[in-house]
Symmetry: C3
Subunit: 150 residues, 3 copies
């Protein structure tokens, strides 16, 4: 999972394969959504890809990635609160590490998101942001980003 620079063509043109970047994210609460937009835009620019897709992958089992409203922070508050209502921390679980709820929330939200790239920029809807979803923080996490021409 090492971060890796794209192989750029000698003329400085876009890389065609192999662009994989690791981002570092520090969560501050047990459950929290953290906006990734700026880091992802940087990765897309670094990749040199003008048209294609940007895959975001979370290599953890108690965290996830989602796309949702970035304008009003109340929305992410509501997402976290409702998931906790549906999957409470202290139900009767088989997994004995105190974070069974975090694993279940991760399964519901999902470990990957696929975004589009056009003219070197992420294609996001007017209100959309991309969020790392922490369900068992606070801790330092990794997010992997792959940008592919296509």
């Amino acid at each position: 999972m090492k971060s890796r620079q794209a192989n750029r063509a000698p003329n400085g043109g876009a890389a065609r394969t192999g662009f994989l970047k690791g981002l570092s994210v520090q969560s501050r609460a047990r459950e929290e959504l953290i906006k990734l937009d700026a880091l992802l835009e940087e990765a897309v620019e670094e990749s040199g890809v003008k048209d294609g897709v940007c895959h975001v992958y979370v290599p953890h089992t108690t965290a996830a990635v989602t796309v949702n409203e970035g304008a009003d922070p109340a929305v992410t508050t509501d997402i976290v609160a409702r998931l906790t209502h549906l999957v409470p921390r202290d139900a009767s679980y088989a997994h004995a590490e105190g974070n069974a709820d975090s694993h279940i929330k991760a399964a519901i939200v999902g470990a990957s998101a696929t975004l589009f790239v056009e003219r070197g920029r992420l294609v996001l809807g007017t209100w959309q942001s991309v969020f790392f979803c922490e369900f068992d923080g606070p801790r330092r996490r990794r997010v992997l980003v792959k940008v592919i021409e296509g």
Copy 2:
């Protein structure tokens, strides 16, 4: 998010990059699943791609995309009803626009779906259809489709 024609090779062969198409979808209810199969098949054909993937992306924060049974409309009725049972419209939410539930449902279902293309056709299971999921309609919506050879 402008719709864009694929760059076709001079010989009329398949485009390799840059096929991104915007679809328009009109929902008629607050919550509703709308079948996209025919529009997606059209987009795949238009792309010229014979083998690859078809990424479907919803650039909204109160809508989503899913793959599920297309034969019996009772299935989508059940999906909508159960999501509303789990995330009711009138719980106590921080987001004050009356559609916090729509955002949460969108986070649960997800903004993107990845489908396969083989011999110029979508690869769907016998009972599968692809559905735009409206959670805050009725209104006019956009769905983005990218078809990539690979």
Copy 3:
């Protein structure tokens, strides 16, 4: 949905397009998560792709795919149990085949997962495994795998 060998370059180099493989999975219970890691690693190796993405697709409407903890089997037990708590088998559903709950669970978890490939291997987090999610077994199922360079 026929399994297909990648078109390998004459020099034995990596295939660029068209690698699609069908896996067969036998579930033993109505609801169960089945680890796919070994089958996916085989598919990646067979594809010849060194750097890229591995898309996993479930062509069924009462099954899904997820990425979660593979070390402690209690985690998948908890995921299955909580989903059944949230979407019970015997609620009042419109779909009359006795598996409306299975369709809804499939919509929540999702039909596809996107993984990364680096140096010819899947990039998974320390605790991650990829799971086929059976929600209406036992039966024989198909899982489709596409590996793309990029």
